[in-house]
Symmetry: C2
Subunit: 385 residues, 2 copies
């Protein structure tokens, strides 16, 4: 990509941590992120793979093609007015969230991320299933379990193709799957950084499947052949390196659903905290596939004992909305914290799964899906003296 | 329960390990279990909570009641002939599978189980959704996300009620959820130990939700008030004991979906294995919610390095059938095994979740959902000399 391709990037908040400038990849300050259950559009983490395309809504058409009875093209006006509009609150998280903790152990390839490659928004647009039924997907019912929905964006990435990904058709067709073609984000049109004019939202899956600047939807018998489905976003053993990974890409499944994840947003690692007074630890937790967080445990003694954190999504004064795709906010107060102290956090989800204790055991060369126990080291200010 | 209530138990295989006689709880030899991808009816683990009821099929009726338009009663003949018959291959696993490993650390309350409280069968019967639509569930569509399906059995358990449980209605209504009212198990009528004449099969959930000897299905706004939904099958921190648990039952969610799980079936713990020749480690793995196992890792050096095991469900010459509710069989050959050696196994599923390293960290007073790393200790026979 030439530097000049990045001449038309949108303006961005000044307080983001920029992990990569071209393409632009940046995360908001974690303390601000944790203040609002629904993230403001200009505080939502940005994960781009290419220059942000400049799209003229007047000439824009979304194409639906492949193994489907009626190939169709839809304008934004048609997406907004020819289908019922569905609202979904969904937290998106990059598979690379918390990657820097992995690269601190051993180098990985990929954009470095702290724990703020995650944000929550209210998305609105037609359900993908309604669009697919309009295009005649019911005629393929006997194949539904074998079909995939391929998404390709307008941005030009690897191999001179648009960024692309796919999901199994059944995820798109499940009414409770809540996959939509978002034309609104928190009540406004999508910002350019978040896929203007249309982004598919695949709740419960890694952010990589919620393709931005959507150009084409293709129904097909195989998953996407795009680089980002086939040669990225896969999990390998810690001993797999760049010399041995080549033959493994095709044998390894693409990551789709998020795993159970959490972060401590207060205090930050190496923070100095007041001695002798009570302290409230805060953070978020999230799992994939619509599985709610069932418990968040905090330890102040290396995992010898645990306290259950309070979760309070229910008290957030949210519009009456399904929260199964959203993160949980939690907090845990402690009267006395030893100094120095490693605060540990682990979450559990409705599938009775929890987070791995040891990051070395899940380290992988792309640094994805790091959901090891969260460990934040603090000292009280007196200890410094 | 009086001893005489157990006078009419069915006959059982002689090679089972009996973990409790009244009620009868027993598991098959693991080596036999691992020989057949579909478990024979008389080798299927038995988990009963009460005497096995003697049921006269001629007078038996299944009742559908509660918040539903048409209260109905169905005979076995009607269940078999008034609805399309649906076949599902599903592995059932008791939430207490591998409990003995937990009680080896610290006493737990519950029937002791090795790693064979799991079996796989092909079940057949009407879909629960078809039965519910026959009873008018479509009239409650606006409440679907809030409703529960309560099941009660004919067996008399705690509080003089039938064994009972519930699942969220949406699980019952999802076509891909595959919940059926099984009247056949592996091509035969259900054996008495497995719920004759009707057992609900809830694939991907803990075995406790697949209620046997089904008497009543009730549609209601709350989950089951049965002991086995409210005061059992829940997860707590290791530090919660019988003095502190009382106030926690109501605050803690009932376990529904299985977590990611595995076992080594060959060799067995403390087995002597031939020295100097290659050896094949074998086992199974399973996850919940229809999430397939994506990888099984084996370590012979305490988790310092791992080998990926071969999975071979696909080569099992099975009838063409969806395997998303079934366990995986795996094996891993090694040329040289140190002696002594602790063989470790962990599995991963489609939700990118894996098994916890340390059993102490997930120990709980009921000993449920133990999916810690599997650890089997062996010595080669020369080391013995």
């Amino acid at each position: 990509m030439a530097a000049s391709d990045y001449n038309k990037e949108p303006s961005r908040a000044s307080d983001f941590t920029i992990n990569q400038t071209t393409p632009f990849n940046a995360e908001p300050p974690v303390a601000i992120l944790r203040e609002h259950f629904v993230t403001a559009n200009d505080k939502f983490y940005v994960r781009n793979h290419a220059p942000v395309p400049l799209i003229d809504e007047a000439s824009y058409k979304l194409s639906v093609e492949g193994l489907i009875a009626r190939h169709c093209k839809f304008s934004i006006w048609e997406l907004k007015h020819s289908f019922p509009q569905h609202t979904v609150m969904a937290t998106l998280m990059c598979a690379g969230n918390r990657r820097t903790e992995m690269s601190d152990i051993k180098a990985v390839r990929g954009v470095g991320w702290g724990c703020a490659a995650i944000s929550n928004a209210v998305w609105k647009g037609p359900r993908l299933r309604d669009v697919l039924f309009m295009a005649g997907i019911e005629k393929l019912e006997s194949l539904w379990d074998q079909l995939h929905v391929d998404f390709e964006g307008i941005d030009i990435c690897k191999d001179k193709r648009g960024y692309g990904s796919s999901i199994p058709l059944h995820k798109a067709l499940e009414k409770r799957g809540d996959v939509i073609l978002a034309v609104e984000m928190n009540g406004s049109e999508l910002p350019r950084d978040h896929g203007y004019p249309v982004r598919v939202i695949v709740p419960g899956y890694i952010g990589a499947r919620s393709v931005k600047w959507l150009k084409t939807i293709t129904i097909q018998m195989h998953e996407s052949t795009n680089y980002y489905q086939k040669k990225d976003y896969k999990l390998f053993l810690p001993e797999v390196d760049w010399d041995t990974v080549d033959e493994l890409w095709d044998k390894s499944p693409a990551i789709q659903e998020l795993n159970v994840q959490a972060a401590i947003t207060q205090p930050r690692d190496n923070e100095m905290i007041p001695k002798g007074s009570s302290y409230t630890v805060k953070g978020y937790a999230l799992s994939g596939g619509g599985r709610k967080i069932t418990r968040v445990d905090i330890s102040f003694d290396g995992g010898k004992s645990w306290k259950v954190a309070n979760m309070f999504t229910a008290s957030q004064n949210l519009p009456k909305m399904d929260t199964k795709w959203s993160w949980e906010f939690w907090e845990c107060s402690v009267k006395f914290m030893p100094s120095p102290c490693q605060i540990i956090c682990r979450a559990w989800d409705e599938g009775s799964n929890t987070m791995p204790e040891n990051i070395h055991q899940i380290w992988n060369l792309r640094g994805v899906m790091n959901n090891s126990w969260v460990r934040v080291n603090v000292v009280s200010d007196e200890a410094k003296l």
